[in-house]
Symmetry: C2
Subunit: 343 residues, 2 copies
Amino acid sequence: MWVYEEQIDGKNLTEIINTEHENVKYLPNIKLPHNLVAVPNLREVVEGADIVIFNIPHQFLKNIFKQLDGIDFSKARAISCLKGLNVNKDGVTLLSDYIEQELGLHCGVLSGANLAPEVALEKFSETTVAYPLPKNYYPGDVDEDLLQILFQRTYFHVRTSPDTAGVSIGGALKNVVAIGAGLVEGYGWGDNAKAAIMRRGLMEMVRFGITFFPDCRPETFTVESSGVADLITSCASGRNVRVGREAARTGKHVDVVEKELLNGQSAQGIATMKEVHELLTHRGMTEDFPLLIAIYDICYGDLRIDDLPKVLADGPATQAGSRRNSVGEPAHQCNAGEDAAKL
Amino acid sequence: MWVYEEQIDGKNLTEIINTEHENVKYLPNIKLPHNLVAVPNLREVVEGADIVIFNIPHQFLKNIFKQLDGIDFSKARAISCLKGLNVNKDGVTLLSDYIEQELGLHCGVLSGANLAPEVALEKFSETTVAYPLPKNYYPGDVDEDLLQILFQRTYFHVRTSPDTAGVSIGGALKNVVAIGAGLVEGYGWGDNAKAAIMRRGLMEMVRFGITFFPDCRPETFTVESSGVADLITSCASGRNVRVGREAARTGKHVDVVEKELLNGQSAQGIATMKEVHELLTHRGMTEDFPLLIAIYDICYGDLRIDDLPKVLADGPATQAGSRRNSVGEPAHQCNAGEDAAKL
């Protein structure tokens, strides 16, 4: 395991991890397995690896790419645990695709209702691993089944999927929906309203997926841990719902709340909300995503939380009973029946 | 509106409602519309009605049927807001079908994330109305669109569906899942575990639906307010999650907790859990519903909450990656993509 070297009380962090089997800075009070070795040299860890697992803040990716320059990854495979997307006004790309493009390293995605402190304590949780086979697949190569065995524990259940886009989008957009859930909660509405926002959010996540990634599967959002379960967890606690709640309760701007409440950390949903708003506005698609747009307009425009029911009812794509597919996509098939059977 | 006549401080409840426009006993501090008239005579209210809405505790149904004996309902239609199912070891029937059989009154279902006190205060919420057209449909008859207009308000959004079974099963089984969510929460596991139980519960609800009602649509559970949103609300607060939480926290039996905690009210999920367990055992289907069975076994058998991850991983139908459809049903199609478009 590569660890960015830091000094803790005059000692190297890697040394502490390797002697005390504890990451005293980032995961204190959790005993790590003895066969997990911390190494400060990135190339040393990665060169010759069969599987590379990326679990870093994604703003460090560029620097990581530089350090890995020239390594032959043609036989290696990767899994990204990064949450987020590259979104700007021109479109959306996946971080796993970014890794693949920059390093020539075929990369899947792991995401789910996986709050790290709970996983570290071996409390029961589930996750989704999305891993389509690479184009240069060879017999004995890494596949879904091997990844399932690699990550599965009694307390940590793994479901696999080919839908890298669906898993990645779920991990990113749930943060925006969580801000919305926080807003209605902080405003004094109850569990009905919060559940309504989560349901609408889930539906807009599906639509976002199939709009920008035609192969995306709706059931990745409605059935998988990376979709509905991660949304539930994020709207229960988590930074984004707390920011929304506090903003509505106090009337303060979300940017102010983020600073005051999170003590220097950031609520990823705020950045994603802005990027998604820019994309949808630029593409003329705001009417197809009334909730995602409304959350932005409450935070940065003139919309009041009180207007939400009206805005969500009035959108042309939101009339109950209307079967118009407003994104102009062909009807996508899913099979929750089969998925239910392979839980 | 029929109201069971009671004396409140020497006055008839119907009189109080009609003069003060408030149901001081069952919905205090909420002003009712002036055009809502309370009537103590059931036949008087129902005879000649175009649409009859059932919103009573379902144990009173039999007595209601007696009072309505002989009324011609061939042109009337009904909506049931009752939550529950008739489940015993021989099978499952819907309360709406029971109404239809007993009265010859075609009956749909309304269910969703609709905690009544919040709806009464006009806080934002959504619901699902399931209403397949009657066999003796005539031009100008009640249809989905009319019901949508009838129930829709700015603060109360209605989506319609033909899936009476899916909507009814969601309303009943979510209570059992909520007990499970409460158990893991009270045991000290976190949001990951709770979300995992809810996701697994949602999948077993789908499977229960398509097993016992072949026309049932999986997306009624994964997409509608009556499914995923009602589950979210019920697992957030509500009697059933509180009973599960307290039982795990204190080690007391759920039956004891129900008495101590609910002050004479009942947690519907306890009765449903027992009935469903009886049905699945009798049919030899326990392996297909490992979560529903495990919740029962924790409450009434020897299973420990600690065993849950193992039990949920070991079921033959629960292996991630396995595509076996263990209920022997053909793969059911759903279309969350289209559903997302008609939010």
